[in-house]
Amino acid sequence: MAKTASMPPQGNETRQGRRRFVEWLLGGSLLASLASFFYPVLRYLIPPERADLGSDTVVAAKVGELKPNSGKIFRFGNRPGLLIRTADGEYRAMSATCTHLDCTVQYRSDLHQVWCACHNGFYDLNGRNIAGPPPRPLDSYRVQVRGEEIVVTRHREV
């Protein structure tokens, strides 16, 4: 591009300055438009937060559904919960998501413990991690028997 020949003669410095100004202008506009392409894409990539439709209370089972010394997985919103009836006939409820790596735990009636099959983790009937890799206890829920229904309630953190 032989534009310099047609330009009026002037100081080398002014020309350099103008050139730098144009370069900044071009580069800046290019960056701004790139940002305007990628900003929506980044926002798009993050999934919208879905309201956890399951409220804080759910009917986990019917009375008489569980024999003593057995457990059942129930839906609590988008995640599984574990309802246990102990050998004494008492109900316990906790999150069924292992605190180690997100597997779903199960009740072992032979051991009277909660067991995660993925990496051999153990919890007691209160959800406390007692053996294996789990780093934290399972979240425990409140259980109420209302008529024929066994109702599980999440403790709201204050």
Partner: protein, 361 residues
């Protein structure tokens, strides 16, 4: 800049970078009054890349089943941030890409760029055009809305008119006797796996051929330049032509963005296979000229069904079109003039029929 030089030296030492990119420095583009038509192929390519990018984004949320497809697109458009924009760009981009591909095809035809030795470049380009139309046809169904559902019913029913293999082809496309969720699954598979794979392969062939033979100069200019060699002009491909092409892409993106933002693509209502078809069912505009022709044909032509005659005629026309470079003689010959005439006739017919369909609908 220093970093770039370092990287280049590193690549050069190992792969002979300078040697690999030597063709870029040697490559030139003829410069003349028709040069503007050279940008259309690149614009089509750019829009294809936009489709790949936005299509990949849509895949993050889209669910290809008849019970979920419509609601997942609705979810993209109403819940996901900028989802409406991504989907709108994908729909508008598809239409612009098909328009650009047709414009590219006609510009190559009228500038006679398909002549020896570029016959196979034309053939690969025509096959790409058919693939692009298949992209349009399969993608149209994916939102599972009423319009697309019935248009697909009609479209696949027309396919059944193909002699001998028609019925088989219809069942193959529909994944059964009817348009159902099975059709949606199939079309999804074609749209996101089969067609992109084939298109990428053919695109590589097409671009390699373009690179191998260089860019064609129209015969009229070739004659002028032979008579007066100093008139001959060219520019370097890199960076001169490439920068101009990039500017064209930027403009294309601007138009695409404006259309997508100012006239967001509609979703319509969810398809109900057991509801009667509403009035105004029609395919996308690029199929309209064929659709309208079939509608205008009488029910029976001699001993054949009218639609069947139409389908066969369009099939034959496509074959002739594919073989056009082999039918064209030398540039100045009579046959070449006939083919130019045929090109104008085809363009006028397609434009006229499309316009007619719009006015009647």
């Amino acid at each position: 800049m220093r970093l770039w030089r370092l990287l280049r030296d590193w690549l050069d030492e190992r792969f002979g970078w300078a040697e690999l990119t030597a063709f870029l420095r040697k490559k030139t583009v003829p410069r003349h009054r028709y040069s503007v038509w050279y940008y259309l192929g690149g614009i089509t390519l750019f829009l294809f890349v936009v489709q790949v990018c936005t299509g990949t984004l849509l895949l993050l949320y889209y669910r290809p089943s008849s019970s979920e497809a419509f609601r997942s697109v609705q979810y993209i458009m109403t819940e996901v941030e900028f989802g409406w924009l991504v989907r709108s760009i994908h729909s508008w981009g598809a239409n612009l890409m098909i328009f650009a591909a047709f414009a590219h095809m006609f510009s190559v035809l009228f500038l006679k760029a398909y002549r020896k030795p570029r016959e196979l470049t034309w053939v690969s380009g025509m096959l790409l055009l058919l693939l692009v139309l298949a992209f349009g046809f399969s993608g149209y169904l994916l939102p599972w809305n009423t319009l697309a559902f019935f248009a697909t019913k009609v479209g696949t029913d027309i396919v059944a008119q193909v002699p001998l293999v028609g019925d088989w082809l219809k069942v193959f496309l529909r994944g059964g006797e009817e348009v159902t969720g099975a059709t949606l699954t199939r079309f999804f598979g074609f749209h996101v796996a089969v067609l992109p794979g084939l298109t990428t392969l053919l695109l590589i062939v097409h671009l390699l051929l373009v690179q191998r033979f260089g860019i064609s100069v129209p015969p009229s200019l070739e004659a002028e330049w032979q008579a007066l060699p100093p008139e001959q002009r060219e520019m370097k491909f890199f960076p001169n032509f490439l920068l101009r092409e990039l500017m064209a892409w930027y403009v294309a993106l601007g138009i695409l963005g404006a259309l997508a933002a100012l006239a967001p693509w509609k979703l319509g209502t969810e398809a109900d296979p057991f509801a009667p078809a509403p009035a105004g069912i029609r395919p996308e505009w690029y199929f309209l000229f064929m659709f309208e022709t079939l509608k205008l044909l009488p029910a029976r032509i001699w001993i054949f069904e009218g639609e069947q005659v139409g389908v066969v005629a369009f099939g034959l026309a496509a074959v002739v079109w594919l073989l056009l470079p082999f039918l064209d003689g030398n540039a100045a010959g009579r046959r070449a003039r006939w083919i130019t005439g045929l090109g104008f006739f085809a363009l006028a017919y397609m434009a006229g029929m499309t316009l007619y369909a719009f006015l009647m609908g």
